[in-house]
Symmetry: D2
Subunit: 284 residues, 4 copies
């Protein structure tokens, strides 16, 4: 089903819901989902509305302008208008670990994720065969201390060429430069293998083991320049016990990582994630 | 904060959101929460809107008529209008088990549940002291095979006298007659100590033990004439293991019962539960 | 690491732990795991001990006889002795749904499951390519009302030829005959897509939707002749809401199915599942 | 049932299980629970065994010496011997928040916690009535910046007088001195209202709100001199959403705190918690 999705983040709510719903009603929009949220503390209003395009009496091309004229202009407010086609294009960055990669490819293959995957980028050659067996390009770009800049230039070129909309770091294990991050604001999703903000940085399962926690977790977040500090999209946890070794924590945690990352991708694809300051509003 | 809450359950959605939000905007309603849901299968539209009364330009007394004239009448639709004052009045029915009773009284005492508790009814005298120490009336009405009708007549009289709005069966262990149930449609909440529809009826923890399940649960539902078959409001579960005895299952389960029941009461109080056929829409 | 695993299920415990641990100590067994359980109700004692073979002073071939002579014989008790090599051989039965299959193959590929998969059997041709890309034989045996017996004869032949130790029904959707079940007692694991005993039989997600439950689940169990009534190995659940369609329940549920099934396989492989009457003792 | 409980934490396991179980068998101990754990990394062996005293052929008074002579002495190892009577005596330290206090008193009243509560200490007078209605002494000891030492001296005196075995800080909100902590090593349980090590220190719900986490938690741990850094006994979590205000986080979190704290008390009472370095082995 072809859908339009309208996102509003604005300082005030007075009359906006009425005006938006009036607009959609006037042009016979069959509303599929509407969600609102008011953040009293920030004095911010958030809204997401999705409706069927087929029966809508404004053509896809004219919606933006019409909405600007009839609604947004009057409030002096910004808005974003998305469509669920063409499908968003995702680049996957991976390293050697296959669990998140497999999981995403499996779900994509089963038709659960409405996106195209033109490209997998890796700093290692290991996962090439699997990726190519799904008919997806695998670009091996080695990264080391001396070639970081050059490697990233190559990555940017590939992202450009492949018209990539957003990036998923599926346990990529490399820190991206500010330049790359700025190019994809709130469009790079990372899976961190801990329940943030606990265990920021490298080797969180080791740190969890050392601290003797009884529950471990995983966190999907948008990448910002500060390490593991971007807006959290989704988190999940699993119980562990004293007899679990670090390698068992890793294995238990990987199951959590997969579920968390795929949910975050899904919310992102459906435009259900709104970022405000360093937090997310998620209309699931 | 004084609130009005509007509930709509109607066969069609076209224009309703626009009309309702226009109405609230026109009279300067400061919207606190709005939720909608469309059940495609049933062709039903559900809406709940809550707004501040203080700044609203229609007096509490006139809202109903105004909304009827300006909105509902045009759609030919029913609606319910609630206010969060005066507080709803709940009667608690208990037997000998104290865990749900204690939990509700504790939460009420801590100001978490916006209601009055004029009355606790029990078929046993055991919990009188605790209840009275909270300044609540305790009515001991013994129930046995020969006096069921009489006992219920007495209960109905007390419910009437105390202007009770809804009833919570906090492990009451007696089956209510159709007559009493009809008097409080979707206003009697029961906590059943299993993950329904598994283990309907008596001794569910024993049945769970026999079946060797790895997870047990509890279910809060509205009472209907069919045993343990009414609309489910909330469910929660807990993990158990082979070494847990029945009495351990009971203890683990009681923690779940308390949490489930108090959530169901909260949703009910906030008018967040809409019943359709034998299911609930819950706007939490 | 090469391990021996001893399993005891016996009517009495008196002195058994002492005798077993004395035996292992005498022959310098480096104990890795020991678990016991007493079922007071049944008057049954359960024990599982795993130890390193390398440093053990009895050869693999002689352990059984030695233990019989020095320990088991004195108590008149049965026992089972397993080794973690050669790896158990699993046959996977699938139909058209790929999620459990993918998940198992992915884990196997990542080295998480200590077993060989000589054979995948399916009543449909759909998943052949994926399976073969992992270097595993795919046997397409169509099943319909008229050829059930014949199809099963063919299956049994393949199981024999491939020296299969146990079978996993990864959403196979066909009911096995008593004959096949008897051939693999407590060695056929099925994943049922509900929180048993709720929603036995076909279309449990539809039934869950109809009943309006707030939590759905999945159950891995050993297959017995009574449908969905065999000993439960593992269960897990996920929360759902009123707005989830049946197809969303399916998708949410599939994530649960995968996790539950892979845990059950793991427990089975590690000989951590002991069956008593229709229940399991699981030493995880 | 009268029980003896033996706890061993020792550098090596070789032969210990055999010797202990032989000892218990020799004197006709009816074993109720035995658990072992080996920490490979630390080269440490942990064991807990519980058995019925009634049928045991050594008197309560002589067990320690006999076990020393016949087992422990040979290994040169320490051990601890406990009995489940007389009941351990717990002092509760509270401030103004009642939820954990109510929960513990409710469970104690229902017979779930095998202990005596001679004493509740508080720096505020607020909860006196509730505590006294359960027949428990309430000692109001105000604490401020100028009287800390004096207040603690008074507390220590009361703990002494009332022969207190362990202390539970049920949201006491004051930092104890090193002197008091040393007096009760691994015998002071605190409930911290976050999922440690995230959000150490004051106002963790505020911090969780600021960070935009999707899950909040609570942690029960033994108190050490470093703030919120002692060995973790139990943790649990609950899901939250963007629309939850801080006060809703508090309310959701309090339900988690109660469950976590009562589990920790239970494990402690049953001598199921073994501390090693800064971690716990928990034989539940």
């Amino acid at each position: 089903m072809k859908k339009a999705i309208l996102i509003i983040q604005y300082k005030d709510q007075k009359g906006i819901v009425a005006a938006v719903s009036q607009f959609l009603f006037r042009y016979e929009g069959n509303i599929l989902e509407v969600d609102q949220h008011v953040d009293e503390e920030l004095g911010m209003f958030f809204m997401r509305a999705a409706w069927e395009l087929e029966s809508f009496s404004i053509s896809k091309e004219s919606i933006k302008q019409k909405f600007e004229e009839e609604v947004a202009g009057k409030f002096g407010m910004d808005f974003r208008l998305h469509f669920n086609f063409p499908k968003p294009r995702m680049a996957l960055f991976v390293s050697k670990l296959s669990h998140c990669l497999f999981d995403i490819l499996g779900r994509h293959h089963a038709g659960q994720l409405e996106m195209d995957i033109p490209l997998v980028v890796s700093n290692h050659p290991d996962l090439r065969l699997v990726v190519e067996s799904f008919g997806i390009k695998y670009e091996h770009i080695p990264v080391n201390n001396s070639n970081k800049e050059e490697a990233e230039a190559k990555q940017l070129e590939l992202l450009e060429e492949n018209q990539v909309d957003f990036i998923v770091l599926a346990r990529y294990m490399q820190i991206l430069s500010g330049k790359l991050i700025e190019r994809f604001p709130n469009r790079i999703i990372n899976i961190h293998h801990s329940f943030l903000p606990a265990f920021i940085g490298a080797k969180p399962y080791h740190a969890a083991y050392e601290r003797g926690v009884k529950i471990i977790g995983a966190t999907a977040h948008y990448v910002t320049e500060e390490l593991d500090a971007g807006p959290i999209i989704e988190q999940e946890v699993a119980r562990v016990r004293h007899h679990n070794t670090i390698s068992e924590l890793v294995q238990i945690g990987q199951d959590v990582e997969k579920v968390v990352l795929s949910k975050a991708i899904k919310y992102h694809l459906e435009r259900k994630v709104l970022v405000v300051k360093n937090k997310t509003v998620i209309f699931y």
